[in-house]
Amino acid sequence: MAANRESDSLVNISNVDFAYGDRAVLRNINLRIPKGKVVAIMGGSGCGKTTLLRLIGGQLRPTAGDVVVDGQSVPRLGSGDLFRLRRKMGMLFQMGALFTDMSVFDNVAFQMREHTALPESLIRDLTLMKLHAVGLRGAASLMPSELSGGMARRVALARAIALDPMLIMYDEPFAGLDPISLAIIGRLIRTLNDALGATSIVVTHDVQESLKIVDYVYLVSEGMVIAAGTVADIHASTDPYVRQFVDAQADGPVAFHYPAEDYRRMLSGQ
């Protein structure tokens, strides 16, 4: 798999540690995201998936190791260079993070107005094209408060691709969506990535939906990569953690019970 060849990679995460204060979140993580692919980073809640995205976007700095995006070491970039790099990235936030005081149209046009000197007529056309790509051209004049959860996610997706980024990051894109919206978002992630020639990182714990659309999977648990491979590799894996996660088993390496003292002894009050 191309994920192993450094020159083909858009994102290289090497030996990264990260901690919030004393609480270690990531431990010696190594990841490669190949150019042009859709890669899923999967794992249970609180395993450090979103932290990884924030490290790639330069919102956080690792306590050890390096994060390289498009040949640039993100933790070493000054704010000017970091902002220049971010112009080549798009990010879809878990709850959309749409600007609530702007219409759908203005949300999508926002970056074009801020970062380019394009005439308003061209911005209008480009914005409508982006909205058309996510099927919401007809909702251009609506306010975010008038959108359903799935629609808001699609508008956020249109906003994320407004400047045709080289890297699109998705933070839990399937969370809280009905089956139809879920399928739409899944299909859009795949088709937009291929149409734009971009690279996508999908952080999710939705196994079934993400395995339908991604090329490569990293499975993270307790701050470490515990499995990696193509979708076929993951399906064929006999690793107990991978099986528990993929088959959605309630008990396994990740225990159902939170650690506690002996049940009978606790009940009898001894």
Binding site: G57, R86, M91, F93, A97, E114
Partner: protein, 268 residues
Amino acid sequence: MIKRSFSTIAAILRHLGARVTRNLLNLGLAARFFVAIIASSAICLRRPSLVIKEVYFIGVLSLVIIIVPGLFVGLVLGLQMYDTLERFGSGDIVGMVVALALIRELGPVLSALLISSRAGSAVTAEIGLMKTTEQLTAMEMMAIQPISRVIAPRFWAGILSVPLLTSIFNVVGIFGGYIVAVLLLGVDMGTFWSQIEAAVDFRLDVVNGIIKSLFFGVAITFIAVFQGYHAAPTAEGVSLATTQTVVKSAFVVLGMDFVLTAFMFRGI
């Protein structure tokens, strides 16, 4: 026994030290934030529409909360002053007293308190909610500085709006005094206005009042944006930040008023 007393004293000192350190850190944070706003303010000159939009939100939408209290303050001031002055046979100078009280003191202070309650708290809640819903983070990820795009326009709009609203408060208040003194109590209209014209000095009273309101504008708008930007990203955090904006603004305005008055009107 002695050992216990020592440990109690040590605990008190530790607590006190922690409080002082925390407040000093917050002061440093506020100073850095203030410098960051000033450094990011060029956008307000490049794109004045951003400031105008906020002037509408902070200024125009606060007109009702300025005009109605302004009128009632003028009405009450007219009644109270006339009653007191009439005991000394000086009821005719009620216009002058109302005007000076409003222009020098009540106008700037009451307007600032009203604006911080209405617009300051709204600005804090808006910025706090933008933070809670990751809108500010989204902006940063789009390579746009929230301090430049969100904070600076609100800051300058507040500074512009407060003196304007204070002027409106003063005018409406004086009109309230006119209604009571001239229309209800029968003070001569010519005397009412001529007393004001003779007693109110443009530089000493009007300009100083405006300067006061400018200082108040900087203070209350800065407190509002600072509290919103540094609010904890939870419902409770936004609620606490909004309350802090109103409470801190009130203390700062009243304290600042004393200092500014001492400098402006000393020896008069």
